[in-house]
């Protein structure tokens, strides 16, 4: 065992917190998506850590599915960004208020 499991989990928690902060604080919709990717990476890290800790490859397989879903999410999300950009230039979430009233 090279490092304690709790160190891996702590690193994963810190990365997830950074991603959460980025998602909540940024105003640019693309950077909000990137923050989601940071959070997904943190989760993958703890999945790989558990897989290594328990000697079980299923954690890595779950992480692979997370990556596949992240790819799908990126495709759909950026397609939506391009479609939104056609109506209103820029990528600020504060401008997207057509559904508010």
């Amino acid at each position: 065992m090279i490092v304690p499991m709790s160190v891996v989990l702590g690193l994963s928690a810190v990365l997830f917190g950074i991603g959460l902060f980025g998602f909540l604080a940024r105003r640019n919709i693309i950077l909000m998506f990137v923050s989601i990717e940071v959070m997904l990476n943190a989760v993958n890290l703890s999945l790989a850590g558990f897989s290594w800790h328990l000697g079980d490859p299923r954690g890595q397989i779950l992480a692979l599915f997370v990556i596949a879903v992240a790819a799908a999410e990126a495709g759909i999300g950026l397609g939506l960004v391009i479609a939104l950009n056609r109506n209103k230039p820029g990528a600020g979430v504060a401008d997207l208020t057509q559904l508010k009233w």
């Binding site: 065992m1 090279i2 490092v3 304690p4 499991m5 709790s6 989990l9 702590g10 690193l11 928690a13 810190v14 990365l15 997830f16 917190g17 950074i18 991603g19 959460l20 902060f21 909540l24 604080a25 940024r26 105003r27 693309i30 950077l31 990137v34 990717e37 940071v38 990476n41 993958n44 790989a48 897989s51 290594w52 800790h53 328990l54 000697g55 079980d56 490859p57 299923r58 890595q60 992480a63 692979l64 599915f65 990556i67 596949a68 879903v69 992240a70 790819a71 990126a74 495709g75 950026l78 397609g79 939506l80 960004v81 391009i82 479609a83 950009n85 820029g90 990528a91 600020g92 504060a94």
Partner: protein
């Protein structure tokens, strides 16, 4: 390689990934943010290598860093984001966001001591899944690529095929959303 140098590499990768994640979510220029997040993905791939997940590390580099992030970069360059540099990067509510992130980290940090993950979790899980505890040593996943392949095409064949359907739906959805609509008569 000695254990100490492997630990040094791990702590370097951990520190560098935290630093590049922080820089990635706080830089003003979106392209700089993307490049910092690219550094984060490569460092996390290094951690995957140390954790014996070679296939995951390769997928992380090829799919995440090579495909998804380049896709993000293309979209950033496709849109005109020059206004981004003059506007505030965070909303006015950013202290609450920082509070949320910090409280999540604190929660996870303290909860990992509750059950003493290093000791009891390993033994209880070993009982529950029938994995002998000796297999929790480093290097237990020798030949993990072969194991992952067998599992993906064996017990996980259905989820694997479902993932291809999800990706197909995403491709079709992205094309439908992003194509230019020609207004006809």
């Amino acid at each position: 390689m000695t254990l100490l140098s492997i630990q040094t590499i791990f702590y370097y990768l951990a520190a560098a990934s935290v630093a590049s994640a922080l820089l990635g979510v706080t830089r003003k220029n979106p392209v700089h943010s993307m490049l910092w997040v690219l550094a984060l993905f490569l460092h996390v791939a290094g951690i995957f290598l140390l954790l014996g997940a070679e296939f995951l590390a390769a997928v992380q580099v090829i799919v995440y860093a090579g495909a998804i992030l380049i896709f993000y970069l293309f979209v950033v360059m496709l849109l005109d984001l020059s206004g981004e540099l003059t506007r505030p990067r965070f909303g006015r509510h950013w202290p609450f966001a920082a509070l949320a992130g910090l409280s999540f980290v604190a929660l996870a940090w303290f909860s990992r001591f509750v059950d003493s993950v290093d000791g009891r979790l390993a033994s209880t899980e070993a009982v529950a899944t029938g994995i002998p505890e000796s297999s929790t040593d480093a290097g237990a996943l020798q030949g993990s690529v072969a194991e992952i392949g067998k599992a993906l095409f064996g017990p996980f064949a259905l989820p694997f095929e479902m993932a291809s359907l999800v990706l197909l739906a995403a491709i079709v959805g992205a094309v439908v959303l992003a194509r230019k609509r020609i207004v006809g008569p």
